[in-house]
Structure formats: structure tokens, C-alpha cells
């Protein structure tokens, strides 16, 4: 057959590569800054730079900007070569690239402004969610267009991973983004309490699975064999790896909610599937490492292979640790601590970071038709990055375990040995060491900046790389006895549908009962909707990202019930949109902050928000003086009440008209309380609303002995 001449689009690969490098630097820099804020709280400069707003900026930048662009860089390079075709449409590539960058810029603006949905890794507000959906469809369109016009009949394993990534991220994003807007920028979650928690961690866990893992496994299956110049160790293993990984991953989300108010059966499902997940994960890791069989001597000299080996090893470590952390006994120690922070950074810095660097060093010289400027600098980068990971992870592991043991330690007399604050101040040296790890890692990235700048300068971009291949012959009939997988591999749409079915099974089995729960969760008669002022206060709590450091979920352990009061019940959260259980206790749990001996006066809260260390010496919480200066925006109270009512919160019809009156009455009573304590502040300030919310926390069931539990 006549061979066709065509050109690979390298310009789009270059663009995504540059975006990966730039956003990687930005995301890590924000991370380093946030790490330093935990050591030096005075680095919380202005409300736009406080930890609660910067930490989501860091996670979003690293996941969606650094790794996101890394995915697209790798996919656009490898897909063209694996399909022996140029990308389907240059225009779509262009829209995809600039659309994604605009989304990132929008995130970088809105998050510091406090515009957030308050759900981890799904913080971005609804207009940005819509934009993500559109751009994701553009990406899928371009990808499938390319696959359909390919000149290579079979879809290589990397492409299956790309397809599964596309379809699953679409499902995750749409389900998690279920929300009802009440203004042009803001919205409330469709789900509440336990349901919201399950949707969140189904999403959160699978964002790790299908954004940080499957696309990168696709990259591993392409770039590792290319860099090692030998085919993958076992293609059969890669097929098993793919199908069992995508099947199992989707079930594992509930392991983020062990010992919480999530139903036990869902917790158990999460545990079982998390443990099973070890096998496909390690199958993939082994497949990656054994690809280097007989070529290990080259790893000594080839810095790109070094990066890739550490990446795959980090993948293996993180995916061993994950199932272990999913065991209830381990989770009881690790949950809410810095152990989890260490775990995710082994994944992010090790697996994603190192693989990205390896791919960048391999790919950029190729598309610029030159050699890497300096192997020595790349080698320095490698060692700085590796040391950085070690300096980051070890202090965090140590801190996490120490923290947990201190939280759980009792004196002989049966009382908690440490106040929460003591455990926080104990962490400071570890936080400092972690920041040092971050400095090392980031300095490696800056060396890479320079090295790549020099490499690009000495070469010239081959924007359109010439290639030749024969077009596909049209197959009119199926070969007799043809293998099933060969058939699927030829048919991308069928492969996508099959992947979709496989991931939906787990999702549906977990979700359906949770949505049935509405009639099954024991409702607690004394749990009432928030008052308008408390609702406004809660939205400030969400805006400031308080959930980043404070949980609102007391687990049923003596060490927790002694410290925080009665363990949390599912029925307590039915009006919480979004749920604010949190995942990390840099500060104490707040689920019962308004009750029992945890209850403080309004004046205490006021002074604490103004200057936390004035009330709790050694506190590393940011200061919130702006809450005292800023007036509470009550113009949206009616819209908020209406939206909540539509979502099932039983505010009486027409209440929105009187809501602001009630709000002012409650605000005035707090103002009077403050006045008695010698604090003069107008009733219309944000801090008043936040105090009202603080005082409400946990009150519904603990203050009312007649509460009836309707099972």
C-alpha cells in the first residue's frame, strides 16, 4: 500500500511542556510558602495569603496545573506516535491548551479571593467547573479524532490508560460538581453530610487514581520503554494491570472515611478493595522496573532512567502504603495526621514529579533536535529531588506518628496527657525540616529551568516532524477465531464504553445505597437548620478554608470523646452543604466547639480570631483581623435560604423575607455579649457571623437530652 507522508505536531507538545515547568514551579513555590507558614505564622500575609486559602491553591496547582499539563504533554507526544497520525485538529489542540491555562489562571485568582466550594481538590467554583467540562470534552474530541484517523491498527496499552482517564475523570467531575448556584460565582452542593462525604472521597480518591495515576501509567508504558530502548517487560501483565486497576480503584474511596459516621458496610467495601488494589498496582510497578532487565547498568549513566526508576519505585512505595493505611487499625493512628501528608508527597513528588522530569529531559531535546545542554546539571537535579523527597517524607512520617501517639496518650489517672496545643508546638521542628525538603526539591526544579532554557536555546523546534506510514486497510470481515482483546484494541469507542462500564460498577454499588440512606440514616429530631447568621458564618468558615486544618468529625475512640465530646453521628450533618469533616488536624476538631467544656465565650472567639496566640500561646493559626473590619454581606441571605430550601433544607416558605431580620437580632445579641466582655464591635461584621457558627457547632444533640433518634 502507498505510504503516506504526514507531520507530527510538536508545537503543542512544547507548549504543554513549558506550561508543566512553569506551573510546576509556581505550585511548588506556593507549597513551600504554605509549609513555612506552619513554622512562621506571621507569613500569613493579608487574607489573600492565609494558609486556608493558599493550601487549596497549592494542591490545585500541583494536581491540575503541573500534573495536568504534564499529562497533556505526554499524551500529545505519545498519542501521535502510537497512532502514526498528527493530532486530529490543530485548532482543538490550541483551544485545549489555552482553555486549560485560562482555567488555571482563574483558579489562581479565585482561590486566594476565598471563592471556593470547600471540598478538597474540588474547590473551584461552578463557572470554572463548567469551563473544565468544556475543555475536557475538547481534549477527548481531539484524542478520539486522532485515534480514529490512526495508521496503526492496534491501540497500544498507553492509549487505553488515556481513554480510561478521559472517561473516568469526566464521570468524576460531573458527579462531584453537582451543585445549585445561588449567585454568579457561588453555589451549594447538591449533596449534604454523609452523602456529600461519600461523593467527595469517591471523587477525591479517584482524582488520585485517574488524574495522578492512570495517565501517568500510560506515560510510563510509553516513555520508559522508549528511554530504555526496549519493549515493556510483559504486555500480558499490562493488560491485566489495566483492567484490574481501573476496576478496583473506583471502590476504594471510603477508606478516607474510616471510623467516621459513614455506614460501616461502605467502610468495609473501601477497605477490601483498597487491599486488593495492591496487586494490580504492584503488577504495574514490577512491569515498569523489569522493563529495565538486562539494562540496569545503563541506569548508572543515564539520568533520565534514574528519574524514571525513582518514579516507579515511589509509585510502588505509595501503592503499598495506601492499602496499609486503609486498614482500620492503621487508619486509627494515621488519619488526621501528617503521615497522610507524607504519603501523598511520596506519590506527588516521587511518582508524578520524577516521571515528569524524566519525560521532560527525554522529550524536549528530541523536539528541539538537539542534545540535553548538561547531563551533569540534570544529575544534580536528580540528587536534589531525591534528597528533597527524603527530607520531606521522613520528618512528616515521624511527626504524624508522634502526633497521633500524643493525642492518644493518657496519664495514670486516666486523663489526656497532652493538650492539643502541646502537640502542635511539638510539630514545629518537623514542619521546619519538611520545608527544608521542599527547598531542596524546588532548587532542583530551578536547575531544570536553566538546563532546559539552555537546551532549547541551542536547538530549534521541529514544529512539524515528518513521518511516514501506510494508511489502514479497511477490514470488512472479522478474522475467524480472532482474539477478543485484539478486537477491542482496534475499536477505541468500544474500549471506552467497556472502561466506562467497569468503572461504573463500583461507583453504582457504592453510591446507590448512600442515596437511599436519606430514608435510612437515623434522623435526629433536635438537629435543626442553621439560622441565617450561622449559615453566613458557615460560609465564611468555608471561604477561609478552615476545613484545611480543622476536622468536624469525632471518631469513636476514648481519646477523642475525652477531648472533643460525644462521637459524631450521621444524622447531625443532614443540613451541611458542603460537609466539613476535614481530613487533617493541624488544629483541633471543632465538631462540638459550641458545647460542654469546649464552649468558649463570644469574647474568647473574638480575641482568638483577631490574634490566636493571645488566647492560645504558641498557636500557629493565622490571624483574622479582617473579619472584624469587613461588613457581612447580607444581600445574598435570601438567595442562600432559597437555594438551601430547594436542596431540601426545611426553611419555611417565605422565610427568606424575614431571614435578615432574624440575622440582625442574633448578631445584636452577640454584639451585646461582646460589649459585656469589654469589646466594642458593630453587629454587622463578619466575625459576628463566624462566632455564631462556632457557638452552634455540636449544640443540636448534646444540649438537648430529649433528642429523639429516629432509626
Amino acid at each position: 500500500m502507498q505510504v503516506e507522508k504526514f507531520y507530527y505536531d510538536n508545537r503543542i507538545v512544547k507548549n504543554f511542556a513549558y506550561a508543566t515547568i512553569i506551573w510546576g514551579g509556581v505550585g511548588m513555590l506556593v507549597g513551600l510558602w504554605a509549609a513555612l507558614q506552619l513554622v512562621f505564622p506571621q507569613l500569613n500575609i493579608t487574607q489573600y495569603g492565609s494558609f486556608g486559602r493558599l493550601r487549596p491553591l497549592h494542591t490545585n496547582a500541583v494536581i491540575f496545573a503541573f500534573v495536568g499539563n504534564g499529562i497533556f504533554m505526554g499524551v500529545y507526544y505519545s498519542l501521535q506516535r502510537l497512532c502514526k497520525a498528527r493530532m486530529y485538529s490543530d485548532k482543538l489542540s490550541y483551544i485545549h491548551f489555552w482553555g486549560w491555562q485560562l482555567i488555571i489562571v482563574a483558579a489562581a485568582i479565585t482561590l486566594p479571593l476565598g471563592l471556593t466550594q470547600g471540598a478538597e481538590y474540588a474547590e473551584l467554583i461552578w463557572p470554572i467547573d463548567v469551563a473544565i467540562t468544556i475543555i475536557w470534552v475538547v481534549f477527548g474530541w481531539n484524542m478520539f479524532g486522532t485515534i480514529i484517523k490512526r495508521r496503526q491498527r492496534h491501540l497500544y496499552v498507553a492509549i487505553w490508560f488515556y481513554i480510561a482517564t478521559f472517561v473516568t475523570v469526566a464521570v468524576l467531575h460531573i458527579v462531584r460538581s453537582g451543585q445549585l448556584p445561588y449567585s454568579w460565582l457561588q453555589s451549594y452542593s447538591w449533596y449534604s453530610g454523609v452523602q456529600d462525604a461519600l461523593v467527595q472521597w469517591w471523587y477525591g480518591h479517584n482524582a488520585v487514581a485517574f488524574f495522578l495515576t492512570t495517565p501517568y501509567l500510560g506515560l510510563m508504558y510509553y516513555f520508559l520503554p522508549k528511554a530504555a530502548n526496549r519493549p515493556v517487560y510483559s504486555y500480558k501483565l499490562s493488560i491485566i494491570h489495566f483492567w484490574s486497576l481501573i476496576f478496583l480503584y473506583i471502590w476504594a474511596g471510603p477508606h478516607h472515611l474510616l471510623y467516621t459516621a459513614l455506614p460501616n458496610w461502605a467502610q468495609s467495601l473501601g477497605i477490601v478493595f483498597s487491599v486488593m488494589l495492591l496487586f494490580p498496582s504492584w503488577g504495574g510497578m514490577i512491569n515498569g522496573l523489569l522493563t529495565l532487565r538486562g539494562a540496569w547498568d545503563r541506569v548508572r549513566d543515564d539520568v533520565i532512567l534514574k528519574f524514571m526508576v525513582v518514579a516507579v519505585t515511589a509509585y510502588g512505595m505509595a501503592t503499598f502504603e495506601g492499602p496499609m493505611l486503609s486498614l482500620k487499625s492503621v487508619s486509627s493512628i494515621s488519619h488526621y495526621t501528617d503521615w497522610i501528608v507524607a504519603h501523598v508527597h511520596v506519590g506527588a513528588l516521587g511518582w508524578n514529579g520524577m516521571l515528569t522530569f524524566g519525560v521532560l529531559y527525554w522529550l524536549l531535546p528530541k523536539i528541539f533536535n538537539t542534545q540535553l545542554y548538561s547531563k551533569k546539571l540534570a544529575s544534580n537535579h536528580f540528587w536534589l529531588a531525591t534528597l528533597g523527597i527524603i527530607f520531606y517524607a521522613i520528618p512528616m512520617y515521624w511527626a504524624g506518628i508522634q502526633q497521633s501517639l500524643m493525642w492518644k496518650e493518657f496519664t495514670d489517672a486516666g486523663q489526656l496527657k497532652y493538650s492539643f496545643l502541646e502537640t502542635v508546638t511539638y510539630m514545629k521542628p518537623f514542619y521546619a525540616m519538611r520545608a527544608l525538603g521542599g527547598v531542596l526539591y524546588l532548587s532542583g526544579v530551578f536547575i531544570m529551568f536553566y538546563n532546559i532554557y539552555k537546551t532549547v536555546k541551542q536547538g530549534k523546534l521541529v514544529a512539524n516532524e515528518e513521518a511516514e506510514a501506510a494508511p489502514l486497510a479497511i477490514i470488512t470481515e472479522k478474522h475467524k477465531g480472532e482474539h477478543w482483546h485484539r478486537v477491542i484494541e482496534r475499536k477505541p469507542i468500544q474500549l471506552m464504553i467497556l472502561s466506562l462500564i467497569v468503572i461504573l460498577i463500583g461507583g453504582i454499588i457504592e453510591m446507590v445505597p448512600t442515596f437511599m440512606i436519606k430514608s435510612n440514616v437515623p434522623t435526629i429530631s433536635s438537629v435543626k437548620p442553621y439560622t441565617p447568621l450561622e449559615l453566613q458564618g458557615r460560609d465564611i468558615y468555608v471561604r477561609e478554608g478552615c476545613y484545611v486544618c480543622h476536622s468536624q468529625m469525632i471518631r469513636p475512640f476514648r481519646s477523642e470523646t475525652e477531648r472533643y465530646g460525644e462521637y459524631s453521628k450521621a444524622g447531625e450533618f443532614i443540613y451541611d452543604k458542603p460537609f466539613q469533616w476535614g481530613s487533617k488536624r493541624t488544629g483541633p476538631d471543632l465538631a462540638r466547639e459550641g458545647t460542654g467544656n469546649l464552649r468558649k465565650t463570644d469574647g474568647w472567639h473574638f480575641r482568638h480570631f483577631r490574634e490566636p496566640s493571645s488566647m492560645s500561646e504558641g498557636s500557629i493559626m493565622p490571624t483574622y483581623p479582617f473579619l472584624i473590619e469587613q461588613k457581612l454581606d447580607t444581600s445574598n441571605t435570601a438567595a442562600k435560604i432559597n437555594a438551601m430550601r430547594k436542596l431540601g433544607v426545611p426553611y419555611e416558605k417565605g422565610y427568606e423575607k424575614f431571614a435578615n431580620k432574624d440575622l440582625m437580632t442574633q448578631a445584636n445579641s452577640i454584639r451585646i455579649n461582646l460589649k459585656i466582655e469589654g469589646i466594642q464591635v458593630p453587629a454587622d461584621r463578619e466575625v459576628i457571623a463566624l462566632i455564631a457558627y462556632m457557638q452552634r457547632l455540636g449544640k443540636d444533640i448534646t444540649n438537648n437530652n430529649t433528642a429523639t433518634f429516629n432509626k
Binding site: 506516535r81 526496549r230 460501616n264 437515623p522
Partner: protein, 70 residues
């Protein structure tokens, strides 16, 4: 100790069967997958795993090694 968490689950009738169904679905899926993959032909596998390479890129020795290990 964890009876109080369990009580929520128990209110959903027949919930005990959920984990069993899930496990069975996966086991069947996995066994079928394993059998089907096992039945794939060696030559085909070699061909597929070499897709990332234009044949001239790989030295003959590497290809030979690959064939012998598969």
C-alpha cells in the same frame, strides 16, 4: 465497640450481601480476564509490545532477547 456505627448499616435491609456481591463480581471479572489473557498468542504479544518502536530503532539483539523472555 463499633456497634454504634454498625447500627446505621443494619437499617438498610439486606446490606450484608453487598460486600459479597462486590467481591464476586470482581473475582469473576478477574478470572475471565486472566483466562482470556492467557490464551493470547505470543507473536501477537511481541508485535503489540513493539508498537512504540519503529522497528529499526530496536537492535536485533534486543528484539531477540524480548522474544526469548516472553
Amino acid at each position: 465497640m463499633f456497634k454504634f456505627i454498625k447500627q446505621y448499616a443494619e437499617t438498610i435491609s439486606g446490606i450484608n450481601i453487598y460486600p459479597m456481591i462486590s467481591l464476586l463480581i470482581f473475582l469473576i471479572f478477574f478470572i475471565v480476564l486472566l483466562v482470556l489473557v492467557k490464551k493470547m498468542k505470543k507473536e501477537k504479544i511481541t508485535e503489540l509490545s513493539n508498537i512504540p518502536f519503529d522497528n529499526e530503532e530496536l537492535s536485533n539483539t534486543t528484539l531477540a532477547k524480548t522474544n526469548s523472555t516472553l
